[in-house]
Subunit: 736 residues, 2 copies
């Protein structure tokens, strides 16, 4: 999974509230920390960047007029990609394209194992469910929003007002255009930007290397260095002949982007300047110590516990039946990726003393604030407010998490909950619906109703539901889920397991939610029609509905309070010159810079900046995940390196490290050299970097990238993709 | 456990037959591979060693007259140590002394956790069960033995003849002297040496650092680099006032060794020449590909399977009851150490293509042999013979392993088997007994009968016996253990578990073998008295006795054949100039040399040669095994480094790597600088070195040593052991 396109889903389960004051002083370039919004780039000290090696003008990287190189950077399936030809060719990670290629694979044509290459446009396959978003513009809507968020509002009113305003702004901006808009919150709500993106709906698969290259090392090497993964793939964006976005059609034509990135196969070495653009999902560098404490004491350990148990269930089922193994593999990978992430987060935070450092920062802040009457008036109670907010959160968080996992662990209950809610939401005017149920999201929702079938295994679904139900039946007395107490019947600790079993027995025997055709019918039915079905899962959804609604009210109020307090906290930090000068990542496009750089993650241990093809051979076992395609092994043994040989390494480079500041969502981000040529793709961070979401540590945090020369080498020598290479603008010239 | 004092016990479970031609040509010093017998040191090219940096005369290292520095090197509890004062003070590893200090600990005085320091002789504690052996002489007895091993002997006769001759030589040599003698087989039996060692029976504990220094990193860091363990301890050898060896007595006085080693606290850096002396237990560099294949296909995987299962049983029992956890911890550590070792062995052999390389070597050898009529006559059928030998082994190896683990997994059955056999052996004249039952071993055997109580937990013992019994009941049809089939009753795969349970139920209910007092009585009873007890475990031992005897006959015959064929194989290798020039390790003292040297164990990964105190602090968690004593943390935080600070590292050195060729049994080996001063103690090899037992690989195989400066630093600053430091000869001068 690596740096994942899943960040938003996993993050959403942790109480993480995404968090502007225009910066007053330019930032020294010696600090490579920071994921800079493009519209804040003028705050950067470009003189220092030029001193570090940057050889092009900042306006070539980004400008508000034609977008610059940034116009070539796209968001795709929750990750990042970049146009690399005038004909809509997109380069991104293997793991970003993986589910698309899996969807197209059959037992006969196993594109996952064997790789895939379209030799002409007509051979390209639809990447079902994939969208590609090209940023068109940014508009500051802070005044519109913050003007309406009067201090007198209650937390829930604050949340509702914000939601309503946001929906209105988005709806007006999208009206009659084939764009997708979002209002992004920066700095905990100090600043709001309307981001408008062209939404390309027809994305196709052009080339994907075999799994033995694209996912070499698999789960074992995930988050690890040294790494030897060719984590790349090629997609293509299509639009209607008139240039408008359109669903897949054989009449569609390749999209012509405003900009595309030339690809370098020139030399690259440790110390070289480079920069990155992409869509990092979220960081928590302004999060309060109370939020951190909540995460360390509760959210991470609880999530780890659920994930471990659910993975075990799927693993064991997979061991009994290889067909089940295939179906559950995606869900296991998804849970496992962030299991390792969360474990790394806890280890890393403990090692780096993140909580202690944050507390010291807050003590400093409080002191500065107290010393200045104006600051004291505005922010004197902010930290106390956050402390109280999280103390309150502790009174219902176990229940909140249990409700979340009920819907998430069991696909059938999750679908039933959604169907039931949709039947109620659909009768409301669009602007009064919850955002996920607005017309703009209905097509995607229907598609998920259908696609859910791909991974569904009822027996496993039931075991997973039983696990979460058992957890739910063990909630403390003040956090009981009353309808479950009633429906399951026996709440004694000895009686729960049997009662849960009997309950789920009836559920699965009396529901058609697991049947894709029935489910799609349900999706189009009215509320009364749904209820009349007396379907066991829909009935359970109905019973739980009020619980979810009540929890949503609590979450909304929490979110309303957090929005207010976090905005205050960031404002206080800025005014007191405490904490980072850039806003936390929030899924919007960011610019970062740094160098190609190895690191010493621990005493007596040194990571070189580059891995090599020789290292692939060292790891090769012939068994997944260390099973290179035969063609690669042959080429390596024959030393058929062509001009991809790096004379300093004496070998073909594979992956390299940079000190860029990245995180989940950065997957597939293009890495540029000083001249703005693509030298690689970000696909992961090292284990030491995981806790970097809270505090970037230049000594140990590294971004892991696949080298463009390895991409070209394997395209050329292993996949025989000469036409594809020709379509790109490959720039072999050495840097000055 | 690290490089272990356990090598002999663990090795014995793998069919590994330990393997002279006087070397005709001196060996180039550029190859640091090799564990050289001291009496072969004249074969080494000392000119090259001097060029590498050696600053003393070879005769100062070893000479047959007064022993040289080698006279300071001793064998202690299966590991190695060195005298570091004229008053019998011995330096060795923490893990070598650990069970002695554990034996002396109580809940009130926890010397394991807190460490121990005797401030005067009278405070030193007995190291119960510890012997210290000082080599007195070597005598070549090859002619006596090989002269009697006529080619006409059957394999079993060959084994018996060898055993009888060996016993006779040892018995004559030990007669009336306080020495222990052994006949060591070199080069698979091409050469036999009688080794005579002064046996010191009164060994006392002088100083042991807290577990948080001496075993810092524990199982997690075991076999790993970077390492931060202060794996050292100090013992003292005592003898009777007249200089003879004697059991512990308050009249005994410190032993005055012929030589002792000065301790360096001077500078040390990567590239510095160094040498090592110690007692490496065993290597397999002449083992045939058939032996390797047997190990890879069967012995290692089978041992891994048993170890894993038995560790699981003990782990789970320990989780339920902390007191059980303490009791089983030693056995878990013992099994786990070699579990990790065997897994590393398989991984390493697969990575290094050890089997394939050995096969190629043998193909070369066969070609050379076939081309020369004299060689063809002597060795033409050797490899074919080994092939047949291992093919035959495959027909009974599962049963052999099951019988071995029955006696090993269950302490009670192991004790019963030994008691039963002892009751039969004790009636024979000493020279006709099996070596383990000869008078010279009776005291140690009685002590083991008593000490077994320390770790005994009947419920766990039973579970472990049930596991092994279940395995035994699943043996293939041609390898059944008939008495078990009869006693357990049900041999159907469905019926076995319940039948095994019922069988062990009766066993434990009707036996007193688990009672230490009864057991010691049994030890002194006659065969008839034992049988008359109708003790369930003794009855089981009686039922199994013939099975063990039959298996022993098979093993003896195997060993007789192997002795003949392996000697031929080594002779052929030497004559054909194939394979290493030195003999495999066999537990006798060896000399090796090399350099302080980091390494690159894998692509993009580099290990520095030294770790530092800063690295200890990096790993510190406050929780075992990363819990440094407070005093060490304070000293580190105050940067109270004294003159132990290494100016190049900017910190106190902790451990360092050398490219010395070592293995299990080398634990505690003194590491010398060019002037013969002690710069550290070997305590482990890196993970990459494990498979080095089959083939030393200079690029990746490293010995892990604790730096003498860290020993002195912690003695000085943490333990306050200034008297102890004064007793040693510390040489602070810089090397030229």
């Amino acid at each position: 999974m690596r740096y994942s396109n899943w960040w938003h889903r996993s993050r959403a389960l942790l109480v993480a509230t995404a968090m502007a004051l225009a910066l007053l002083t330019p930032i020294s370039a010696s600090a490579v920390e920071g994921m800079w919004p493009l519209f804040d780039m003028d705050q950067l000290h470009f003189d220092s960047l030029h001193t570090m090696g940057l050889a092009i003008d900042p306006s070539q990287i980004y400008n508000a007029k034609d977008g610059g190189l940034a116009a070539a950077v796209v968001q795709v399936d929750g990750g990042t990609g970049a146009f690399v030809s005038p004909n809509g060719l997109i380069i991104t990670n293997h793991h970003v394209a993986r589910s698309a290629i899996q969807e197209q694979s059959t037992a006969q044509k196993n594109y996952v194992d064997d790789g895939f290459l379209a030799r002409k446009l007509s051979e390209e396959l639809p990447a079902v469910g994939y969208y590609c978003f090209v940023v068109k513009s940014y508009e500051d809507v802070t005044k519109k929003i913050r003007g309406a968020l009067k201090p007198s509002l209650s937390p829930k009113q604050r949340h509702d007002t914000l939601e309503k305003l946001t929906k209105g702004i988005v709806s007006a901006a999208e009206k009659g255009r084939d764009v997708r808009c979002e209002v992004a919150s920066f700095d905990g709500g100090l600043r709001y930007m309307l981001v408008t993106m062209f939404r390309i709906q027809d994305v196709r698969i052009v080339a994907v290397p075999p799994e033995g290259i694209g996912n070499f090392g698999g789960e074992i090497d995930n988050w690890m260095w040294p790494r030897h993964t060719g984590d790349y793939s090629f997609l293509r964006a299509y639009v209607a002949p008139d240039g408008h976005a359109a669903e897949y059609s054989d009449k569609n034509v390749p999209y012509h982007p405003t900009a595309f990135v030339p690809v370098s196969d020139g030399p690259l070495k440790e110390g070289d300047f480079s920069f990155v653009m992409g869509f990092p999902g979220g960081t928590s560098r302004f999060a309060s110590s109370y939020e951190l404490q909540d995460a360390i004491d509760f959210s991470y350990p609880t999530s780890i516990r659920y994930r471990r148990a659910l993975i075990d269930i799927m693993d064991q089922a997979g061991q009994r039946d290889p067909e089940v193994a295939v179906r559950v593999s995606d869900r296991i990978a998804e849970l496992a990726n962030y299991l390792k992430n969360f474990e790394g987060m806890l280890t890393g935070m403990s090692k780096a003393h993140t909580l202690e450092t944050r507390r010291l920062r807050e003590a400093d802040l409080q002191k500065t604030v107290n010393a200045d009457p104006k600051l004291a008036k505005n922010y004197g109670n902010t930290l106390a407010g956050l402390s109280a907010l999280y103390a309150d959160h502790a009174t219902y968080r176990d229940k909140s998490v249990a409700l979340g996992w009920l819907s998430r662990a069991s696909q059938q209950l999750g679908l039933a909950n959604r169907l039931y809610k949709w039947s109620l939401q659909k009768t409301k005017p669009d602007m009064q619906r919850e955002p996920g149920y607005m017309e703009r999201n209905v097509a995607a929702m229907r598609r998920r109703m259908k696609d859910a079938q791909i991974n569904m295994v009822p027996a496993v679904d039931r075991q997973m539901l039983e696990y979460v139900l058992t957890q739910a039946m063990r909630l403390p007395a003040n956090q009981r889920i009353a309808p479950l107490d009633r429906l399951v019947g026996d709440t004694t600790s000895a009686g729960v397991p049997a009662a849960v079993k009997a309950f789920t027995e009836k559920l699965y025997a009396n529901s058609k939610v697991g049947d894709v055709d029935e489910r799609l019918k349900m999706f189009d039915e009215t509320h009364d029609q749904l209820v009349a079905r007396k379907d066991a899962f829909l009935d359970l959804a109905a019973s739980l509905f009020d619980e979810y609604q009540t929890m949503k009210e609590k979450d909304d109020a929490f979110s309303g309070s957090a929005e207010k307090l976090n905005a205050e906290l960031v404002a206080a930090c800025r005014e007191a010159h405490v904490g980072p000068p850039y806003p936390d990542a929030n899924g919007t496009m960011r610019f970062g810079y740094g160098q190609v750089m190895g690191c010493s993650p621990a005493d007596a241990l040194h990571f070189a900046a580059f891995t090599t093809l020789g290292g692939v051979i060292e790891k090769e076992t012939g068994v997944s995940p260390f099973n290179s395609p035969k063609r690669l092994l042959d080429v390596a043994r024959q030393h058929d390196f062509g001009h991809y040989l790096d004379p300093m390494l004496g070998d073909v480079p594979v992956d390299f490290l940079t000190d860029h500041d990245t995180t989940g969502g950065s997957s597939g981000s293009p890495i540029f050299n000083a001249r703005g040529e693509l030298i690689g793709l970000c696909f992961d961070g090292n284990y030491e970097a995981i806790a970097g979401d809270y505090d970037y540590e230049q000594r140990t945090n590294r971004t892991i990238n696949v080298d463009s020369r390895y991409i070209l080498f394997t395209l050329d020598k292993v996949m025989g993709a000469s036409e594809l290479i020709k379509e790109m603008t490959v720039t072999p010239t050495a840097l000055p």
